[in-house]
């Protein structure tokens, strides 16, 4: 059946779970584009035949046209939904994506991600007068200025705002400014301790 390949792309995306992104399926995208090219060429042929006087070709043209539109829709949906996922990842993982996810992006998607990052950073810097506002912070209403945290893994040295350098070693506990360590908690490096 026509447009079957394009549907496989959609299925592939539908199957993926939160927090993962399948590799950009360049091969299949190319195959879909080839199918579209073939359909288009056949339609061109039939149209010029009709202009030349042959009749009754309209049904076939209509059918192929529908298949073209369908392929287009599937391809666009594939690209669009991937971008949506990548955008969500910016808010969950932070401005640097994990290596294995980055590896699955297409070149254009990497470019898009970088541009999105830049836009977001510029916008956040422009809010207010005091050097901007970090929108990715305080996703939950803050209750205290400082929080107690425990390291879940070795993360190396960390310089706090007041110039102290602390070593984030596995299982060590620290009392840190909430605004400084919230990102590290979101990324699973620190654990927030509540009593």
């Amino acid at each position: 059946m026509l447009a079957e390949k394009a549907l496989e792309l959609v299925r592939e995306l539908q199957r993926t779970t939160d927090g993962t992104l399948p590799p950009f399926n360049e091969d299949k995208v190319r195959q879909v584009l080839e199918e579209m090219k073939a359909l288009f060429d056949q339609n061109q042929q039939d149209v010029s035949a009709t202009v030349a006087g042959e009749s009754g070709l309209f049904a076939g043209v209509q059918l192929r046209h529908a298949a073209l539109e369908r392929n287009k829709r599937c391809l666009l949906a594939y690209l669009y939904n991937r971008i949506q996922k990548i955008r969500n990842m910016r808010w969950e993982f932070g401005s640097v994506l994990p290596q294995d996810i980055k590896y699955n992006l297409s070149e254009q998607e990497v470019q898009w991600f970088n541009k999105y990052n830049k836009c977001l950073a510029n916008y956040m810097r422009s809010i207010g007068t005091a050097g901007g506002l970090d929108l990715t912070q305080d996703m939950k209403p803050p209750k205290t200025l400082y929080v107690e945290v425990r390291c879940l893994m070795d993360h190396g040295e960390f310089e706090t705002q007041d110039g102290n350098v602390i070593v984030l070693k596995k299982n060590s506990q620290h009392f840190l400014l909430r605004s400084e360590c919230e990102h590290l908690i979101r990324q699973g490096i620190l654990e927030h301790m509540v009593h």
Partner: protein, 203 residues
């Protein structure tokens, strides 16, 4: 409105649901597309031959203006199935009949078949009867395996179930005062889990 239509255009579920097959009868010859019907040996699709076409294709060939194929109601929406749904919709395995039973059914209404009003009625009725059960089970399954509860649900019902679960979990977290604790983002957690699984596989 324009924006809503755009959302649907990119909606993966809508794309999948519009791929469900409809039994069609070819009404006029369609030249050089005989390969679409694998059981035919001819180069063209001939009038009178019957085949199953996906909804999106059938839709472009059969509408008020065009009549290149005629469309029949798929069997899952015919009288006998409608009777089963009327008898007791809650026990029917809609995922097996669907899995996009409602949304594909809604698509079918656009053909204005003689049975359409009845199909429309039964879709609403079935949804109403089943909704209570979906809501009940999603609001009362806390910390347990839900695959048994959702296996008979249509895809849109599964989304409802998921929304209910999310609400329930949030409520219980609030009730037990867990909301103030900062936690690792779910996406990061899932990503780690997967990575660990892959590493265990290869190592």
């Amino acid at each position: 409105m324009a924006l809503e239509a755009l959302e649907e255009y990119y909606d993966l579920d809508d794309i999948l649901s519009s791929n469900e097959k409809i039994p069609c009868k070819i009404e006029m010859p369609i030249y050089r597309l005989g390969y679409l019907d694998s059981s035919s040996i001819y180069d063209d699709l001939l009038p009178g031959s019957k085949m199953e076409l996906p909804y999106w294709m059938a839709r472009s060939l059969c509408s008020r203006k065009r009549h290149m194929v005629s469309v029949e109601l798929p069997k899952n929406y015919r009288e006998s199935y409608r009777e089963i749904l009327t008898a007791d919709a809650t026990v029917v395995d809609l995922h097996k009949l669907g899995p996009y039973y409602y949304s594909f059914g809604t698509h079918l209404l656009k053909y204005e078949l003689p049975d359409s009003p009845d199909v429309a009625k039964i879709l609403v009725k079935a949804f109403q009867t089943r909704f209570r059960k979906v809501m009940d089970s999603s609001q009362n399954a806390y910390n347990e395996d839900t695959s048994k509860l959702t296996e008979k649900l249509d895809e849109s019902e599964r989304l409802l179930f998921k929304a209910g679960q999310l609400g329930l979990n949030d409520f219980i977290r609030w009730e037990t005062r867990q909301t103030e604790k900062l936690t690792t983002s779910d996406m990061v957690k899932n990503h780690r889990k997967r990575k660990r699984a892959i590493m265990e596989d290869t190592g």
